[in-house]
């Protein structure tokens, strides 16, 4: 609802105001425009200094070889080439892609299924509120809990024992941690996207469903011709949101299953964010700020490309209802 009304209120007055604006606008308009500096100035300043300047600096640093202190040497794209030749980075990048696409697909399918189930379920508010809550908890918590639940003498194994599983898999073996992380992400993030998609589905006026019933549409047809087209833009937004948040995944990997133990999580589980952090700040080797920033810029490039593609792919004529 909010989206369509917003667009409408924004679009309609514009042509009416055009001629006025040419003459300098009404007095309140003119007064308002004078507020540009005091109103937008502080936000602009904060944002530019603390966000845009570092972002531009990041591009510059990524083109240099730099250990944080001492001289910077300009090396062009060498950092990028070097990073892509680093098997650790390739592994991290692959993991980030797995999180983005595999976990993303699972979340979306589940969230949409949950929405359809929730839509006309009894006590849907309670269920929705509960599955949303993990979104508000620091992912560290899940990582730490996993260590307790999956450790050899932990809860899962004590549950499996009576079932006759005497040799349970080594859950926290280095190779098994990443799939567990992916599963945890699905479990804890689905609720958030369910809430968003549900808000989109709830916008659909009930008379559409009544129409479907009168026309004798099956549940599948109703899904295909009513629910999906009318929530299409919500899906697009969700996809963008997930793209942006999935490349930032850091905390849960950092502590998953107590894996950080001596300091670093096992390399099989790294995401690009972890790679960036370790390369710059681990204290294990000389910090390579150039390479670290290059890896971060690559993740930014990934986000940019995907968001642009998504907007292309999801673009449909907005359906006003």
């Amino acid at each position: 609802m909010s989206a369509s009304t917003l667009k409408r209120t924004r679009r309609n007055p514009a042509p009416a105001l055009k001629p006025e604006q040419g003459r300098g606008g009404s007095s309140i308009e003119r007064q308002r425009r004078k507020l540009l500096v005091p109103f937008v100035g502080p936000a602009f300043l904060f944002y530019t200094v603390l966000f845009i300047v570092p972002a531009i600096a990041a591009v510059w640093i990524s083109l240099n070889e730099w250990a944080g202190s001492g001289p910077m040497t300009f090396v062009g794209f060498k950092n990028y080439i070097q990073v892509f030749q680093d098997p650790l980075f390739v592994k991290s990048f692959g993991n980030t892609l797995l999180l983005l696409f595999v976990v993303g697909a699972a979340i979306f399918i589940l969230a949409f299924a949950m929405t359809l189930v929730l839509r006309d379920m009894a006590a849907k508010k309670i269920a929705r509120n509960v599955i949303f809550f993990p979104h508000l908890i620091n992912a560290l918590v899940f990582g730490i809990l996993a260590g307790f639940i999956f450790n050899p003498g932990g809860m899962v194994n004590s549950l499996l024992k009576p079932l006759g599983v005497t040799e349970p898999p080594a859950w926290l073996a280095q190779d098994n941690i990443f799939p567990l992380i992916m599963a945890t992400m699905v479990l804890t993030t689905t609720g958030y996207f369910t809430t968003i998609i549900m808000a989109g589905v709830d916008r659909i006026p009930p008379y559409f469903y009544e129409d479907c019933a009168l026309a004798g549409a099956t549940a599948l047809q109703r899904l295909r011709y009513v629910i999906l087209p009318l929530t299409w833009d919500v899906f697009g937004t969700c996809a963008v949101l997930w793209t942006i948040s999935s490349v930032k995944i850091f905390e849960i990997i950092w502590v998953f299953g107590g894996s950080s133990g001596a300091g670093l999580p096992p390399t099989q589980t790294w995401s690009v964010a972890v790679y960036t952090y370790v390369t710059a700040f681990s204290g294990m080797s000389t910090p390579a700020y150039g390479a670290a920033t290059a890896s971060a810029i690559i993740s930014l490039a990934l986000v940019t490309v995907l968001v642009v593609l998504l907007r292309r792919a999801m673009r449909r004529d907005a359906i006003e209802f």
Partner: protein, 307 residues
């Protein structure tokens, strides 16, 4: 229709199906289709709901047991409500200071961020020209930049002005980082407010500034509160930047303290009791906020999607 059904050949057919009573007064079109796929879905959903609640209750209960008992039987219940774990976590492991730091950082950065973003969002929502379009786009740009991109330059910059390992520096970073989202959310919110009241105020001779402070701000209380709560949740849980920028344990925020606590355990043996107490300190404030202002949170997260 009537002609057909009353024709003699049809009358010999099966008796008309009796319609089910419509319980609950929901029109049949809106009622659930009952089939087994759905039933499975409902079952799984409730299973997840129960799992989440049980998990939360379990964490809180374990925080009252000592490590030995927890490891002995992870399913056990506390025999008595002793706050030993909380006391240890609070006093010995430095969670007290970390909590204080977290509360300070969260409150200050969220408040300043809203205070700075609200006027900007108001301006961007009310004045329509090429400049404001460009500015809106400029702010939105930040939504797509992952934090790790600016991590290193921020560290270097703040180090130059001696603001690393300082809560002031962390506050500044949080404000800058949350601005794009806050401006975006509040712009959408201001746009959804009716213009009539402001026009009336202008006709009564109120200046634009006064209109904003006395008319629009009170109207926008809900949206501003929503933005504030979302910022509180974000800053309370932020980990990567805090981990990078804070080095001494007296400056740690809760997530960093938690990480350092986990890392100490690998040397000193697991203190699960203390750890569960620490988890409670991280989770429970969010639970309180959620129960108290949950509707605002979910609304805010879905309102920001107008774009």
């Amino acid at each position: 229709m009537t002609a057909l059904t009353s024709s003699p050949s049809e009358q010999a057919g099966p008796p008309p199906v009796r319609r089910k009573r419509n319980r609950g007064g929901v029109s049949p079109a809106l009622q659930a289709d009952h089939n087994w796929v759905r039933s499975i879905g409902v079952f799984i959903l409730w299973a997840v709901v129960v799992l989440f609640i049980a998990m939360l209750v379990w964490i809180v209960l374990q925080a009252f047991r000592d490590t030995h008992a927890i490891l002995e039987s992870p399913w056990g219940l506390p025999t008595s409500f002793n706050f030993d774990n909380f006391a240890t976590a609070w006093n010995v492991s430095g969670f007290a200071l970390a909590t204080l730091n977290s509360i300070l950082t969260t409150a200050v950065s969220s408040f300043v961020c809203v205070a700075v973003a609200a006027p900007a969002a108001y301006y961007l929502s009310r004045v329509e020209n090429r400049l404001t379009d460009g500015l809106s786009l400029y702010f939105i740009l930040g939504l797509g930049i992952p934090a790790q991109v600016i991590l290193i330059p921020l560290f270097v910059m703040l180090d130059k002005v001696h603001l690393t390992n300082s809560l002031i520096g962390l506050n500044l970073v949080y404000i800058g980082l949350s601005l794009p989202f806050t401006v975006f959310l509040l712009t959408a919110f201001f746009r959804s407010l009716p213009l009539e009241m402001e026009e009336a105020a202008a006709l009564d001779g109120a200046s634009a500034l006064r209109t904003f402070v006395q008319v629009t701000l009170p109207l926008a209380k809900g949206g501003i509160l929503t933005a504030f709560v979302l910022l509180v949740v974000g800053s309370w849980n932020e980990t990567l930047l805090a981990l990078t920028l804070l080095q001494s344990s007296d400056k740690y925020t809760l997530p960093v303290a938690l990480i350092s606590f986990v890392q100490q355990q690998t040397y000193s043996g697991a203190d699960w009791g203390g750890l569960f107490a620490g988890l409670c300190i991280v989770i429970l404030p969010m639970l309180v906020i959620y129960i108290w202002l949950g509707r605002r949170l979910t609304e805010g997260l879905t309102l920001g999607m107008g774009k």
